[in-house]
Amino acid sequence: MTMTDDATLVLPAAQPRLPAALVAERVSAWFGDHQVLEDVDLAMAAGEVTALIGPSGCGKSTFLRILNRMHELVPGASLAGQVLLDGHDIYDPELRPIESRRRIGMVFQKANPFPTMSVHDNVLAGLRLTGRRTRRSTSDDLVERSLRSAGLWEEVKNRLGTPGSSLSGGQQQRLCIARALAVRPDVLLMDEPCSALDPTSTRRVEETIRSIAGEVTVVIVTHNMQQAHRVSDHCAFFLAAEGKPGYIVEQGRTEDIFERPQDERTSDYVNGRFG
């Protein structure tokens, strides 16, 4: 951690610090006039993994995209309520979306490394794209550290110069995780990161998630009950009636949700009786 002595380096919080908590208060969301989320309250504890579970179309992904202002990229999208990062509303009109997004990273369902950049450059993309310059030794150090955190270093250390798109699917997804980690976000959002991966790659990504928890707050959307059980500390179960907006049926510690659910629908869902 000798990065602070580099004058040109403007990395957020280079010294060890606690990850931030993310709190959604009374969040509702619309696409045009169609309401997709109603009155969602959810506190995502700092440094822990929160899983959002529930059947397709219940608004989990929309909720996740609201958490780092990706929601507003869809034409006609609107919302109500607020999202507090360390107590500050990220939808504050004074804040720019890019400031929130730099602190709240995201990993998508389909791995999307930048095809025109090498593995090395993909990891640094967050810094390079936002115009931040780093000294060579610092950036090489950052690349290695990010790739190690994502559990990819050993596999790619000899071909950092090859295009990011030349890796296998599972490696690409871990590269995307490394890319998101390299900007040292407070929160990492993951939208079904394993849905396109084979079981082996899925296991690697899950290990990665467990190992980065503590450094960052992780929020993960998943359809896979076992995965939610394995990786998360907290769970929130979303549900939407036909044509109605989604809401949280039940939330709590993962073992409680899975072993002692209060609501019958939760019990049915986590036991695979619907969805």
């Binding site: 890019i98 930048f114 450059d121 936002t130």
Partner: protein
Amino acid sequence: MAATAPRKVKVGGVSTELVLHVGSAAFGALALVWLMYQQLLPITGTIGFWLSWYAVFLVLLAAASATTLDRIAVVDRIVGALVTTAGAILVACLAGIVVFTAVRGWTALKHVNFYHDTTAYIGPDASLDQGGIWAAMVGTLEQVAISMIASVPLGIATAVYLSEVRGRLARVVRTVVEAMSAVPTIVAGLFIYSMLILKFGQERSGFAASLALCVSMIPVVVTTAEVVLRLVPGGLREASLALGTTQWQTVRRVVLPTARSGLVTAVLLGVARVIGETSPVLLVAGSTSELNYDAFHGPQVSLPLFVFNEMRLPLDQAIARAFGAAVVLLVLVVVLFGLARVIGGKPPGHLSRRQQRRLAVTAGLAPAPNAVNVGSLEGDMS
């Protein structure tokens, strides 16, 4: 139980029956029409002969097919013959034009002076070992270069507006660009003539010609570039924005590099479109046969204009020169077009081997020992 090797059933293909029917109809028609031309009709003429042959051929083919097929299948076969003929006509037209131009141009093309000389100080009836198209090539090069400098940035910026910014004006702009691609080129020339030369009193020059070409080039660049920008996966934009970049950074560092090969194609197609334009240049480039390197002052000839001027002279040498220059023009168009195909045929974000090597170098990494088989990893790309 030992199974015999399975034999594949042949599907499709051409049946013997079809060959028999088509062959007999063709031959029968030939005989009949020949008889008609020799005995019944007073005139000759190759095209008339083959037109009659074709009509008789269709009738005979229908008759022959009716011996084995029902009415619907006969109709199907006749339509098939007609449609195939239309395809053949199209190919024959292009082939005819290319071969005819090449053959007629050969007499001029085989003289070396044709490529580096000009027709400035020789009479139009001078033999083909004097004079050439050098001045016209210089003019074409400069005029196309100037119109590229003007229309490529404008065209790509407009395409970025249409596909990335998607403002309220996008619909209007798209409609207008479409209309612009339909503006007759002579009108484009007339526009520059009335504005630059009549209104602002400029002289006729290569520069004026370049501006007239821009009117044709901009819409080609805009429409093609918009299509290729739309091919860039939305996921890449989102990934970039989620890293906290501004929209400009996303466009500049992610979208445009990913669409690079497609954008090159857009430019090449634009150039191919305008390089042979005659009518706009005709009005504003002025008339000269002298070599003029200065596109901004004085008349400047270009390849299409050279062809146009020479072909109107009632002299064999001049016409041969016109055909020679036309072949050069045709070759340029085909080369540009081929390049556009080769470059544009790749998916967005595809990197050539050379680009991959450069990537490794800019990453500050000596190519790793196993970097040689980078190509074999391309299979993972999808």
